[in-house]
Amino acid sequence: MNKVTTDVLIVGGGPAGMSAAVAASGNDDVRITVVDDNPRIGGQIWRAELGKLKSVEALELLALLDQQWITLVNNASVFSNDGSSVLAETPSGRIQIEYKSLILATGARERLLPFPGWTLPNVLGAAGLQALVKGGLDVQDKRIVVAGTGPLLLVAAEYLTSKGARIVAICEQTTNKKLDRFALGLWRSPSKIVQGISLRSKLRGIPYYRNAWVTKADLQSVTIQHFGQTTDIECDMFACGFHLVPNIELAQLLGCEVADGFVSVDDYQQTSISDVYCAGEPTSIGGVEAAVVEGKIAGFAATGQIIEANSLFRARKKTTAFAKALDQAFELRDELKTLAASSTIVCRCEDVQYGKLTDHDDFRMAKLQTRCGMGACQGRICGAAVEFLFGWKDRSVRPPIFPVKMENL
């Protein structure tokens, strides 16, 4: 087994992880290693297109990274820990990486909610479809409905349009009131991207429905509920995501304190475990600006650059306010709890139907009796769904936190 030693280990190569790496490299004495489970650095928002980073911000950071003594390890899934080291599976086998300090920049995933038809092959996540297109999927002239909630719907629609897709409709489940309040607050928010895109998508004349949500989908169309009426919209693909949930499994495995589903951190982004830091979406869903500033603070703090870290506290305060605004604006409406029929699958790995879950009082009993959450994704998808549907919060974490080849255990 390959064993590596590093001063600062950063898990996750998205905005938070890359920013942390650049900040940490301000200390000339430290060796830095960044591991990422995707084939290319950049995370989700800066995901490479056909293997090439396009984002200007990402390229700037990457240029800084390349100049420094930084090791990048792609395609590495961290699946376990052992003292002050983590174990990761790569295509060429298992590696053990020992660290002095650790920065968790594990990002977020889309929240997917069950509705009749959500397991059909033409139904994808909104960010998911965007990621696939960046990976070379051709959507030229494809009719696509984008639905769910959150600013990512607009980001995805904008991107898909730029790749020749015909966005038939964008359906945002939240209310006009909440959205307006959010939009009003945007002038002081750091998120220029969201602001810009929301304007542009309107300009392009794509039907944009608020108060609208999917009730079912089939291979040719989706049914949208909008002000008490249902409308069938024909489409080739349906991209549907309900904002984001943080990837906190590694933090949980390490024993970091978690509150309300997010990793607790102090002013220096340090978790309840000393020398373990966390930045970006796992601490709160605040978008790319928050990830960058938190990543920098973590990178500085982890390498003793305290003055530099302190200088960013004010900038972080703004992103924290934005995260809160996001949360309020895209709060899920209760109607979404009623979409799944008794026969609708909730756990996609084990094909556990909604009706099989309603008998149980908590996630543990449901898991044991139905295998809900016991499949390959280890509850990453259905865990967020059952939390919303039933209020089940039990997210016990055991190694391996990703499936690994038996020889790599």
Partner: protein, 79 residues
């Protein structure tokens, strides 16, 4: 350009294309069969949901969204 086979049919894709994108571009939508036999396809695009698993070069349960196509790869879906 990269040439690989999907279900024994040879296809050519741009360099940097993920296997998941290559499969969809080839017109195949059923990546795997679920436990109860439903056809499933890619969903999250980022290696989290495990719905896009296929057999690549004889190794089953590979997340196709996280694998970049390489010359000569043999991909089998719907297993």
């Amino acid at each position: 350009m990269i040439t690989l086979t999907i279900n024994k049919i040879s296809i050519t894709v741009d360099e940097g294309t993920t296997i998941a994108a290559a499969i969809l571009n080839a017109g195949v939508t059923a990546f795997r069969k679920s436990v109860t036999g439903e056809p499933r396809g890619a969903v999250c695009g980022m290696g989290i949901c495990f719905e896009c698993r296929v057999t690549i070069d004889g190794i089953a349960h590979q997340r196709s969204c996280n694998v970049i196509a390489a010359d000569g790869m043999e991909v089998v879906t719907d297993e």
